[in-house]
């Protein structure tokens, strides 16, 4: 893959670089921004609700239903009397339902994170060890040849090409 990128010392200059790339005609989807800590600038964050809460709630719902089935249906299938209690005892049922609801929610959250954050993807990507040094990387992967010049101008003096 080949790419072009530059490193910036703070969020403000990174934001300027992104705006410059926009002016040069690069769409948001092609711009790669990487940092070693969450950066707090509006344009760079590209805020979009992740809907994670609803996914977690749905996972919780599934977990709760599994818990309900487990305690009620299976208990009725093998009815054994203990301690004079009913075959389906609601208090214990609520406990197991609660635990499996929370488990479902947490597993759904973790899975959704991996999917929406596009983790577990293979393939080499733009990277630089200076990101660890609190630099912010702004770049474009696989830039079409005719736009390389415009991008170099947008990214400014410190820009680098990567060809591999």
């Amino acid at each position: 893959m080949n790419g072009i990128y530059a490193l910036y010392a703070d969020a403000i200059s990174a934001e300027h670089a992104v705006e410059a790339l926009h002016t040069a005609g690069v769409v948001d989807r092609d711009i790669v921004v990487m940092s070693s800590e969450p950066i707090d600038v509006a344009t760079l964050r590209r805020e979009r609700s992740t809907g994670l809460f609803w996914i977690a709630a749905a996972g919780g719902g599934v977990g709760g239903l599994v818990g309900l089935w487990l305690t009620t249906a299976t208990a009725r299938a093998w009815p054994l009397v203990t301690g004079g209690m009913p075959i389906v005892a609601w208090w214990p049922t609520l406990i197991v339902v609660f635990e499996l609801t929370m488990l479902g929610g947490m597993l759904a959250t973790a899975t959704a994170l991996i999917v929406t954050a596009k983790l577990l993807r293979r393939g080499s990507a733009l990277n630089s060890p200076e990101i660890a040094d609190a630099r912010i990387l702004v770049g474009v992967e696989n830039p079409p040849d005719d736009m390389v010049g415009a991008m170099e101008r947008a990214l400014g003096a410190g820009c680098r090409r990567v060809i591999s």
Partner: protein
């Protein structure tokens, strides 16, 4: 403090290993191996090797189970609640705490296996379809334990792992060879794009909200192991909140001790300041007062009620054969921490550590005193009995403490024990405000 300095300091334990580390691991591993061997011996001979007897059928092992599950409440309180209220001082503390939770849960979950009469059949508790007509009884608090601890263990492992991903990526990007491959795998393709950061922070917010009720429920359900039986001084409605309080209490003490050891052994004096210990010390003081309140409320109610079977148990702890342990517990859990932690001059790092060690000892004794005196004096006096621990129980107990130390030492060797990205983000936050 410069970012480079932070990264170097906190990655140093991963890069440099001295002979002292190997020696520590060897000693701890030796003790753990001894404990494991003892357990295998016990499995081969039978639980008769332990001190349990008619009618005291639960003693050291269940004490340890409750104790370790209690310790595991450290991580949640600190990490989740402090994240939710956005307390900035939590940053160097969160991962230490979350690690305690995961390992304490794993060790605690071992004890239901160790104390089983037929541990090789533990899988009877797992609801899987079989031809043998074996199915768990959902009315049993032990089955609730299974679900609660499983949920909490999976939840806290995720809670620990997810915010560690950026740090794994950091190690991947600053190393070569096998380290790069290993941490690259653990970082599961993390790049640090704003989208990923946003997803991670949303996920952590949800996990923090979810894990707090789970933690409260776990120790409540452990307390139900006792309160659901008609045993004198067990069948009390106070057990749920009482146990959760005790858990958070012992958890904070464990966290203070762990942090103090890390600070000394990994030379993290620049990152773990007196203020962190002081803040945790204030929380410990609060929990000590809360715990004392619960003890007072429970015992006053029993004493006032004057029910004969309960009074026997109450007297045996306060005046009888358990009195030395009982008053030691009061000293360790109330007098020592209250004195040290309420006087500012004494509330130094060493002071907090002394108070915490006392609390840990006191809380272990408290679990023991909940279980054994009640079982030793049930309703029919002819069936009362005296429990004495035997070597296998003591050995296995000691080896679990060594096991905790071993797991912690190994973890801090392979994973930065302070969350680097959160610390750096905190510096930016402070820089932006200042």
């Amino acid at each position: 403090m410069s970012r480079a300095r932070i990264v170097n300091d906190l990655l140093r334990p991963l890069r440099d290993t001295t002979w002292r580390f190997y020696a520590l691991v060897a000693v701890l591993a030796g003790i753990v191996a001894l404990g494991a061997g003892t357990w295998v011996y016990q499995m081969s001979q039978g639980l008769g090797l332990a001190g349990i007897r008619w009618p005291v059928f639960w003693a050291f092992y269940v004490t340890n189970f409750v104790f370790w599950i209690g310790i595991s409440h450290a991580g949640t309180l600190i990490s989740a609640i402090l994240r939710l209220v956005n307390a900035q001082w939590r940053r160097p503390v969160t991962r230490c705490a979350e690690v305690i939770t995961v390992f304490a849960l794993m060790i605690g979950a071992l004890f239901p296996l160790i104390h089983l009469g037929r541990p090789w059949l533990f899988f009877y508790l797992i609801p899987y379809p079989s031809e043998r007509g074996i199915w768990p009884n959902f009315r049993s608090p032990l089955v609730w334990d299974f679900f609660a601890i499983m949920t909490y263990l999976i939840g806290s492992t995720l809670f620990l792992f997810l915010p560690t991903i950026p740090d794994f990526a950091l190690v991947r990007d600053t190393s070569t060879g096998w380290r790069r491959r290993l941490y690259g795998g653990l970082a599961i393709g993390w790049r640090g794009t704003p989208q990923q950061w946003h997803c991670l922070e949303s996920a952590m917010q949800i996990m923090a909200i979810a894990i707090v009720p789970v933690a409260v429920s776990v120790h409540t359900i452990v307390s139900f192991d006792f309160s659901m039986t008609p045993v004198p001084m067990w069948h009390s409605t106070i057990f749920g909140p009482y146990f959760v309080t005790g858990a958070i209490f012992s958890g904070i003490a464990a966290l203070i001790v762990a942090m103090a050891m890390l600070r000394r052994l990994l030379r993290l004096e620049e990152y773990l300041h007196r203020v962190h210990f002081e803040n945790l010390g204030k929380l410990l003081l609060l929990m000590s007062l809360l715990w004392t309140y619960f003890i007072f409320a429970e015992r006053l109610t029993v004493w006032y009620g004057n029910e004969s079977s309960e009074m026997v148990v109450l007297r045996s702890t306060q005046h009888g054969e358990f009195a030395p342990l009982y008053w030691t517990m009061i000293g360790c859990n109330f007098i020592v921490p209250f004195t040290i932690l309420s006087i500012r001059r004494l509330r130094t790092i060493s002071g907090c550590v002394v108070a915490s060690v006392a609390v840990l000892a006191g809380m272990w004794i408290e679990r023991f005193l909940i279980i054994v005196p009640s079982l030793a004096h049930k309703y029919l006096p002819y069936s009362w009995g005296v429990y004495r621990p035997r070597p296998v129980e003591i050995l296995i107990t000691i080896s679990t403490f060594a096991g905790m130390g071993l797991l912690y030492a190994l973890f801090s060797k392979f994973v930065p024990i302070i969350s680097i990205w959160e610390l750096k983000a905190g510096e930016s936050h402070a820089g932006a405000q200042g």
